[in-house]
């Protein structure tokens, strides 16, 4: 299934990325190494905005991001990720690391044209399909199923 995938998120240097579900902060630090590598000039760097609904986790992941040297590229926000983060939208890429029943509409609105979103869609019972969403120039949405995954449920207003 997933082994046929080729760079699902297609990240490039300079991309502005929204992550829903910061968890430990490890994802966003790794994404920072791709969109804003230390080896390239700062003027070319992209950045990551990552939303965490659980306050102590947001604080902890912020601490991890600072300690590992990514605070200049990653911003952690304690907020309901199911609503996205319109303040900094639109985003080149959106990555959702929790499972939703359906794609929360604000996330589609906050995706740039030609942007890509990855989101696990399915039940809360730890089986979902990883869906790749592309927004074309005319605003149309194309969905591709990349195969089975198991994530915790997306919580919040538009979660499950």
């Amino acid at each position: 299934m997933v082994s046929i995938m080729n760079e699902a998120l297609e990240l490039e240097i300079g991309h502005k990325v929204l992550e829903v579900g910061s968890g430990s902060g490890w994802h966003s630090a790794t994404i920072a190494e791709i969109v804003a590598p230390s080896s390239t000039p700062r003027s070319e760097w992209g950045c990551i905005f990552t939303l965490e609904i659980i306050k102590p986790l947001a604080e902890n992941s912020r601490k991890n991001i600072i300690n590992s040297g990514y605070a200049d590229r990653v911003k952690i926000i304690n907020a309901d990720g199911s609503l996205g983060y319109s303040e900094e939208s639109p985003y080149d890429r959106i990555i959702v690391t929790a499972a939703a029943r359906e794609v929360p509409p604000p996330l589609i609105d906050q995706l740039k044209t030609n942007g890509i979103m990855l989101i696990p869609i399915g039940s809360a019972s730890l089986f979902q399909n990883l869906i790749k969403i592309k927004k074309s120039l005319d605003g149309k949405i194309k969905k591709e199923n990349l195969g089975g995954v198991a994530f915790v449920p997306l919580t919040g207003k538009l979660g499950q």
Binding site: M5, L11, T30, V149
Partner: protein, 70 residues
């Protein structure tokens, strides 16, 4: 030494066909999970499983995260 266990895990993901891109490999090698785990979980950082980080949440298994990045 510690870094070697992480390198070994990343190479395993490549062999399994989960991780394809050189760019993603470089990024994953640069950021081992160690610094992002609670003290009592740090020693498991290079095992390919999700690890608890409190509040019912986990730090993803490296293979799951690789699926997102390629």
């Amino acid at each position: 030494m510690e870094q070697d266990k992480w390198t070994e895990l990343i190479n395993q993901l490549i062999r399994q066909g989960v991780l394809h891109s050189k760019k993603v490999k470089t990024a994953m090698l640069a950021v081992p999970r160690t610094n992002f785990l609670p003290e009592d979980m740090k020693s498991y950082y290079a095992s390919d499983t999700p690890l608890p980080i409190g509040h019912g949440q986990t730090c993803s298994a490296p293979h799951s995260f690789s699926l997102f990045l390629g």
